[in-house]
């Protein structure tokens, strides 16, 4: 069954948010979704997500933080879902 894994990175000093997301992704099941909340847009994370074949979407939340939704891309590298 697909799980939704949440990682709250607010208040953490870079590069800790990126480390926590990438570590959590290593344990992510094939149909799972990871939702991370960051204080800032994780610019340095995106190249890693693309390289590792994840699909991701970033949305700004009402309080000014950012929600990044990440899932396995089914082998298709570098594809983004809108």
């Amino acid at each position: 069954m697909a799980r939704k894994v949440e990682v709250d990175n607010r208040g953490l000093e870079p590069p800790e948010p990126m480390v926590r997301i990438l570590e959590a992704l290593e344990k992510l099941g094939p149909d799972d979704i990871l939702v991370a909340i960051n204080d800032r847009r994780p610019f340095f994370l995106y190249p890693q997500l693309d390289e590792r074949g994840f699909i991701h979407r970033t949305e700004e939340r009402e309080d000014g933080s950012f929600e990044i939704t990440i899932s396995r891309g089914g082998g298709k590298q570098g594809e983004h879902r809108g």
Binding site: P14, R40, F43, F44, Y46, P47, D50, G78
Partner: protein, 437 residues
């Protein structure tokens, strides 16, 4: 705007070799520069007009150290901050070579005050700088969203263009002598445009982005940034016009422009204080300490300049001591302390990112704080500031005995700094086992 641009672009930042090359070159020049200030101080601080060693030291600081560093940082930071790709990585590299070769020739030209060498080196430096300005301007124009950092950097690039162009005109004037009279006024315009227009606006713009990030202060509205921007521009442009055409703007109007500049500086100090006082961690990191010290120098200089101008302060040797002391404290205090503080964060972060970002989650990676020797950094902080404050006061007061001691301390601190920053490239000091989970 349903879809933020951030997700569309992944690897915006250029190859890390671009910033690394600039940073390493600049740090090497910085060490040579503090050594030169210590060894050549008798000549350097004796007089400033057409003093070869003073010109050498000033341009090694402004072009070789500060401009080189800002160029490298901008190539890395602007694409990340503005979510665009750098217009051209190739141009960035060729600009670096033009600028660096030109700089070596230019500094040789200053040392012997040999005008053809000076003009040849200056031309190469200018070509390298134009390449940078063009590359960065094209990048800024591609930005999907404009912000405070871009606004400050855009204006700073314009002032940089004016400063170096005027610099080449001054070099040509050494030979031909076509600037009718009062060359010193033109030199002052060159210094004001470079110091306040280029360095100060660029550093403020970058600071508005990086200081909140390093202090972990989020969603703090930049209420003062734009008033500061317009006050500073009014002050810089007005001062430049008042210096060029004293007939148009009298002394009273001119001092108003200096007051506008001082107000911009003090308001920026208030903004930095807002960021620092809202920081998430109780302890002040190296970057924040250096930044606070840097802003302290700038505010002190702004207040000092206002006092000197309004009271028409004069003492024996003031005509040499005041410009020399102000220039020293401005470049080694404000500009250099700010750069040093940011390098203590930027270099470990970029090296860490370069080495370990593809290994995270797959194997143990070092912690960021293991990349740099913080304790040594703290020693460097105290030594450097004691050295610069002492040397600055010595230059202002013409006290040569103490000057020698304090310039020695400044140089020693710069060696510790260079050692600390350059050894980051060799990898972490010790790898602690990372606690998982």
């Amino acid at each position: 705007m349903g879809m933020p641009a951030g997700e569309l672009i992944s690897a915006n930042a250029p190859d890390l070799r671009v910033p690394f090359r600039h940073i390493i070159t600049a740090v090497i020049i910085f060490v040579l520069l503090t050594s030169l200030l210590f060894l050549g101080q008798g000549h350097i601080f004796s007089f400033y007009f057409r003093n070869p060693l003073a010109l050498l030291a000033t341009h090694a600081t402004t072009l070789g150290w500060a401009t080189m560093m800002i160029m490298g940082a901008a190539y890395q930071l602007v694409p990340v901050v503005l979510e665009v790709r750098l217009f051209s990585e190739k141009l960035a590299m060729s600009g670096y070579y033009l600028f660096t070769v030109g700089l070596v020739v230019l500094l040789a030209g200053f040392t012997w005050l040999h005008i053809p060498i000076l003009v040849a080196g200056g031309t190469l430096v200018i070509l390298g700088s134009y390449v940078f300005i063009y590359n960065l301007t094209r990048t800024l124009l591609l930005a999907p969203r404009w912000n405070v950092t871009a606004t400050f950097l855009g204006a700073a690039l314009f002032y940089f263009f004016l400063t170096i162009t005027l610099g080449l005109i001054l070099a040509l004037n050494l030979q031909a002598g076509f600037i009718p009279s009062a060359v010193l006024r033109v030199v002052a315009v060159h210094a004001a445009l470079g110091g306040m227009g280029w360095f100060t606006l660029a550093i403020m713009g970058v600071g508005y982005r990086l200081l909140p990030m390093f202090a972990l202060v989020h969603r703090l509205p930049n209420l003062l940034a734009m008033p500061i921007f317009w006050l500073a521009n009014l002050g810089i442009a007005g001062t430049a016009v008042a210096l060029t055409a004293p007939g148009i703007a009298g002394a009273g109007v001119a001092s108003l422009f200096v007051i506008a500049l001082a107000a911009a500086v003090i308001l920026f100090g208030v903004d930095v204080w807002r960021i620092v006082s809202r920081r998430q961690r109780a302890r002040l990191g190296l970057t924040m300490r250096f930044s606070l010290a840097a802003v302290g120098y700038l505010v002190a200089l702004a207040v000092g300049a206002s006092v000197v101008l309004s009271t028409r302060l004069s003492f024996h040797g003031a005509a040499t001591a005041l410009p020399m002391g102000f220039a020293f404290l401005f470049l080694m205090g404000w500009v250099t302390a700010m750069i040093m503080g940011h390098l203590f964060k930027i270099v470990p972060f970029l090296v860490w990112l370069d080495r370990y970002s593809d290994k995270i989650g797959k194997q143990k990676v070092p912690l960021l704080r293991e990349m740099v020797n913080e304790r040594l950094g703290e020693w460097t902080f105290w030594l450097y500031n004691v050295g610069v404050i002492g040397a600055g006061i010595s230059v202002l007061g013409g006290i040569t005995t103490f000057r020698s001691l304090f310039l020695g301390v400044t140089a020693a601190a710069s060696y510790l700094f260079a050692f600390n920053v350059l050894t980051v490239f060799r990898g972490p000091r010790q790898v602690t086992v990372r606690e998982k989970g």
